[in-house]
C-alpha cells in the first residue's frame, strides 16, 4: 500500500531530507487505531471515519493518524450491503417522485411505501438500499488485525516509499545477487541502471504519480538483502527544484521498515495458476515477465523448462511453426497501414503487435505528408 503525498511527513534541512518515521512512542496511537477498526467491523465507513476524525484530536499530527489509517484501510475489506440493487431503487423512486409536483415528508413516505410494496420489500430495506453503493455507506466487512509495532513499521515503509517516489536519482548497495531487485529497479521507467560490483544506480523516468507501487517493490526487495544501503536525491516538495539527499540503511532502518508480506503473498496466490499454464506459441518477453513479476532471464529459463522449442527473436519467443505462419501472413498483406498489420496480428492472438512487428524486421513510420502511420520492412528476414 502507499498513501497520498499530502500525508508525507519529512524534515527538510539545507543538507538532508529525513522522513519522520513513527517511533515506539506512537505504539499507543497504533493500539487505539487498531481498536477503532475492530470496533467498527460491520458498521458503515462513515461511522468509522467519524471515529477516526476523533482520533485526530488526540494531540498527534493528523497526517500521522491518517497515514496509519491508510495502512489499516489496506488491511480492511469494505463492501456494499443492500437488499436491492441501489441503481434500480433510485430509478424507481425518482420516477415516482417526478410524477408529483412537490415532495412533502408525507409524499416521501407514500412514495417509499408504494415502491417498496411493488418490489415486495420493507420500506426500511428500500431506504437502506437507496445509496448503499456510496463509499460512506459501505460496511467494514473484514479487518485483518495486526500488531501495533507491525502497523508502525508498515507505515514507515509506506512513508519511505512515497517520499522515494520523488527521487531523481537513486543508488543502492546490497549484498549478494538480487535479480528481482534489478527487475524492480528497471520497472521505474527508462531507468539508467548501472549495475556494478557494489550495487546499482538508477534515474527513475516514469511519472511520479505512477512510481509509488514500483518504489515499494524495489524497497521490499532491498529489505530482503542481508546488507543494504540506499541513497536518493529527492525533489520534494515538488515545487522545490533543488534536491536533498535521503539515506536509508539496514543498520539504522532495517528494524523500522517492513514491507507488507500479505500483499506479496496475495499476488503470488493469484499468479501461481498463470505460471503453471502453457505460455502459448508467441511470448512477448517484457509483457509476460512483467505480468508474472519475473526477470527476463527467469522467464526464459521457465519457458525453456517446458521443453517446447521456441525461436528467440529480439524481445520475443515464438515457436517455429507460428513464426513461419506470421511471416507468410505478414508478407501477404497488401496494405501498408499500421491498422491492417494490427488487425492481422490481433487475429493471431497477439495482443501487443508492435514488439512482434519489430522482432520480425518491420518498423512503423508516420508519413509527414498525410499523417498516416505506415509499416515498412527493415530487412527481408529477421535472424533467428
Amino acid at each position: 500500500m502507499i498513501f497520498p503525498p499530502e500525508l508525507i511527513r519529512v524534515r527538510r534541512t539545507k543538507t538532508a531530507l529525513t522522513p519522520i518515521f513513527a517511533d515506539d512512542e506512537k505504539v499507543s496511537l497504533a493500539k487505539t487505531l487498531i481498536a477503532v477498526y475492530k470496533e467498527n467491523i460491520n458498521r458503515k465507513r462513515a461511522k468509522l471515519n467519524e471515529a477516526l476524525a476523533e482520533c485526530e484530536e488526540l494531540g498527534y499530527d493528523f497526517k500521522l493518524v491518517r497515514g496509519l489509517s491508510a495502512v489499516l484501510d489496506s488491511h480492511s475489506i469494505f463492501g456494499a450491503r443492500s437488499f436491492l440493487p441501489p441503481v434500480k431503487v433510485r430509478t424507481l423512486l425518482f420516477e415516482e417522485a417526478t410524477r408529483r409536483p412537490s415532495i412533502t415528508e408525507m409524499d416521501r413516505s407514500e412514495i417509499i411505501a408504494k415502491v417498496a410494496e411493488g418490489l415486495g420489500v420493507a420500506s426500511s430495506d428500500l431506504e437502506e438500499s437507496l445509496y448503499a453503493d456510496l463509499l460512506d455507506e459501505q460496511h467494514l466487512i473484514d479487518f485483518r488485525e495486526l500488531a501495533p509495532d507491525e502497523l508502525l513499521q508498515l507505515y514507515n515503509f509506506a512513508l519511505a516509499s512515497v517520499v522515494l517516489a520523488y527521487s531523481v536519482h537513486i543508488s543502492i548497495n546490497y549484498s549478494g545477487k538480487n535479480e528481482r531487485l534489478e527487475k524492480a529497479a528497471s520497472a521505474l521507467g527508462e531507468s539508467d541502471i548501472r549495475v556494478g560490483s557494489i550495487g546499482l544506480t538508477l534515474k527513475p523516468s516514469k511519472q511520479v504519480g505512477i512510481r509509488g507501487g514500483k518504489v515499494e517493490a524495489l524497497l521490499a526487495r532491498l529489505l530482503e538483502s542481508k546488507e543494504w544501503r540506499l541513497r536518493a536525491d529527492v525533489a520534494y516538495p515538488p515545487r522545490h527544484r533543488e534536491t536533498r539527499p535521503l539515506e536509508l540503511n539496514r543498520n539504522s532502518h532495517g528494524g523500522v521498515l517492513r514491507a507488507d508480506k500479505f500483499e506479496e503473498e496475495t499476488i503470488i496466490e493469484i499468479k501461481s495458476p498463470v505460471r503453471k499454464s502453457s505460455y502459448g506459441d508467441l511470448i512477448i518477453i517484457d509483457d509476460v515477465a512483467n505480468r508474472l513479476g519475473l526477470t527476463d532471464r527467469e522467464l526464459i529459463r521457465r519457458v525453456e523448462a517446458e521443453k517446447r522449442k521456441y525461436v528467440r527473436l529480439p524481445g520475443v519467443l515464438v515457436t517455429p511453426e507460428k513464426l513461419e505462419q506470421l511471416r507468410s501472413g505478414l508478407e501477404e498483406l497488401k496494405e501498408s497501414d499500421l491498422a491492417s498489420y494490427k488487425t492481422y496480428l490481433k487475429g493471431q492472438a497477439c495482443k501487443n503487435p508492435i514488439p512482434v512487428l519489430e522482432a520480425l524486421g518491420y518498423f512503423v513510420e508516420v508519413d509527414p505528408e498525410t499523417g498516416r502511420t505506415k509499416v515498412k520492412r527493415l530487412r527481408r528476414r529477421a535472424s533467428s
Binding site: F62, T91, E95, A97, T98, I103, R108, L134, G371
Partner: protein, 435 residues
C-alpha cells in the same frame, strides 16, 4: 545556414554541420521563426512536420460575435484567448478558426466526456475522420482531439505534428502538468477558449506566455436576450435555525479568537493558504481551522436552505431545475429527503448518462449535483438553477449560470442563490458575483 529541428519536446536551433546548437522550448518556435525571417540569416526549417490539410467548409453558420472573435484572433497573429459565456458556442468559433487557417490541428480538452463531444461535433462539421488520444483511443489524424493528460504524455512524440493547438477550458492550462503541453508543442498558432479568465494576475500572465492575450471577450449580459436567454439572478438570504446559529457562532468564535490572539489577518487567498499551511504544524491553528470548517459546514449545508428549496420546487413544479451544491454530503442528503436524482463524482458514467438523458427528455425535471456538472459535461437545457452552496469563484458562478442560458423562444431563466444570513457565506456570495 541555420537549421531548426524538433527534438523530444524542444526546439533545436543548430548550424548546418550540427556542431553548435541551442535548445529552446518548443513554444518558442513561432518567435524564433519570425526572428529568422526578419534577419538576413539563411535557415532551413525541419522542425514542424504538420501534414497539409484541406478542410471543407463546415455546415455551421457563425453568429456575428463568433465571426468577430475569429477576426480578432487573426489580427493577433492567430494566437490568443477567446472568452465567451457557456452556451455561446465556443466550439463553433473554434471550427470557424480551423476553417480559416486550414492546418493540422490538435484540440486539447480536460475530460474524456469533452473529448467525445468535440470529436462528434468536428466529425459532424467537416465529415472527416477525427483522431482521438485519450480515454482508450490512440488515433492520430490531421484534426485530433486529446485530453490534457494524454497530450502532455505524448509531447516528445507528437509535439511537431500540429500547426494549431486549441485549448478548451484554457484556464486549466497554467497547472504545471498541463503547461508542459503549451511549452512542448511547436504549434505556432494557438487558441484558448474559456467562459471566464478570472482575475488572478499570475494565471493571466502565464496564459499570455503560453497561448497569448485575451483577444476577444463577451460577457453574459452582452449576449443575453438575443443569443442567450434573458435571465434574473435572485439572491435569497436564508436565516439559520436557532440551533444552527448557536453552533455556527460557537465554532466561528474559536476560529476568530485564534486569529486575534496570534494577530493574524486573512485578507487574501494567499493569507488563508498560509493559515492552512500553519495548521499542518501548529495544533492550535489546526483546531481553529477545524472550527472554521465546522462553521462553514453549517452555513453552506443548513437545514433552512433545504426547507426553502422544498418550497421553491413546489412553486415551480414544471420548470426544469438544476440544483448546485458545494459538498456531496448535501447532494445526498437532499436527494434522499426530496427524492431528487443526484450526480456527483461518485456517480458511475452509465448512471450519469441515464439521468442526463431522462432530464433531457423530461422524464426527470430536477437534478441535484455538486461541482461535477460545472464544466466538462454536456448538460441538457434547464430554465431554473439553484445554487444552494458554492465557492467564492466567479468562474464557478458564471459556469453555473451558463447552464440555464441556452436560448429558447420565450424562455426567462432564473438563478436562485441561497445564502445563510449573518454568516461568512455572505462574503463568498459577494465575491463570486463581483467579476
Amino acid at each position: 545556414m541555420i537549421r531548426l529541428r524538433f527534438d523530444r519536446g524542444t526546439l533545436l536551433v543548430e548550424n548546418d554541420q550540427g556542431t553548435a546548437s541551442t535548445r529552446r522550448q518548443a513554444n518558442d518556435y513561432a518567435k524564433v521563426l519570425s526572428e529568422l525571417k526578419a534577419s538576413s540569416l539563411e535557415y532551413r526549417d525541419e522542425a514542424l512536420k504538420a501534414p497539409p490539410v484541406n478542410l471543407p467548409s463546415s455546415r455551421f453558420e457563425a453568429r456575428d460575435y463568433q465571426s468577430e472573435a475569429v477576426a480578432s484572433w487573426e489580427r493577433s497573429g492567430f494566437r490568443g484567448i477567446v472568452v465567451l459565456p457557456t452556451g455561446a458556442g465556443k466550439t463553433i468559433m473554434a471550427i470557424k478558426a480551423m476553417e480559416r487557417l486550414q492546418v493540422a490541428t490538435i484540440v486539447v480538452v480536460p475530460t474524456i466526456v469533452l473529448l467525445e463531444q468535440w470529436r462528434n461535433t468536428l466529425k459532424d462539421a467537416f465529415s472527416l475522420d477525427i483522431g482521438a488520444i485519450g480515454g482508450g483511443s490512440n488515433e492520430l489524424r490531421s484534426i485530433t482531439v486529446s485530453t490534457y493528460d494524454s497530450a502532455a504524455l505524448r509531447v516528445r512524440e507528437i509535439g511537431d505534428r500540429f500547426s494549431l493547438i486549441v485549448f478548451d477550458e484554457v484556464h486549466h492550462l497554467p497547472a504545471p502538468s498541463n503547461s508542459r503541453i503549451a511549452l512542448g508543442y511547436l504549434a505556432p498558432y494557438r487558441l484558448g477558449l474559456t467562459a471566464t479568465i478570472g482575475r488572478n494576475e499570475e494565471v493571466i500572465s502565464s496564459l499570455k506566455d503560453l497561448v497569448g492575450s485575451v483577444v476577444y471577450e463577451k460577457a453574459v449580459e452582452e449576449l443575453a436576450g438575443r443569443h442567450l436567454s434573458d435571465y434574473t439572478v435572485k439572491t435569497v438570504n436564508v436565516p439559520l435555525s436557532p440551533e444552527e446559529k448557536l453552533e455556527y457562532d460557537r465554532q466561528f468564535a474559536i476560529y476568530k479568537g485564534f486569529l486575534q490572539r496570534r494577530g493574524i489577518r486573512i485578507r487574501s487567498a494567499r493569507d488563508y493558504l498560509l493559515f492552512v499551511k500553519r495548521s499542518g504544524v501548529d495544533p492550535e491553528a489546526r483546531r481553529a481551522l477545524m472550527a472554521r470548517n465546522a462553521a462553514m459546514d453549517i452555513a453552506l449545508n443548513s437545514m433552512s436552505k433545504e426547507e426553502y428549496l422544498r418550497g421553491l420546487l413546489s412553486a415551480n413544479p414544471s420548470e426544469k431545475t438544476l440544483i448546485f451544491t458545494r459538498h456531496n454530503k448535501l447532494v445526498y442528503r437532499i436527494s434522499r429527503s426530496l427524492l431528487l436524482p443526484a450526480i456527483t463524482h461518485q456517480t458511475m458514467r452509465e448512471e450519469r448518462e441515464v439521468i442526463l438523458d431522462r432530464f433531457r427528455r423530461g422524464v426527470y425535471r430536477r437534478i441535484i449535483t455538486s461541482q461535477v456538472l460545472d464544466e466538462g459535461i454536456d448538460v441538457p437545457d434547464a430554465s431554473v438553477a439553484v445554487i444552494l452552496s458554492g465557492t467564492g469563484s466567479s468562474r464557478e458562478f458564471i459556469q453555473r449560470l451558463g447552464r440555464v442560458l441556452r436560448k429558447k423562444e420565450g424562455k426567462q431563466a432564473t438563478l436562485y442563490e441561497l445564502v445563510s444570513l449573518g454568516t461568512a457565506e455572505m462574503r463568498l456570495s459577494k465575491r463570486r458575483k463581483e467579476a
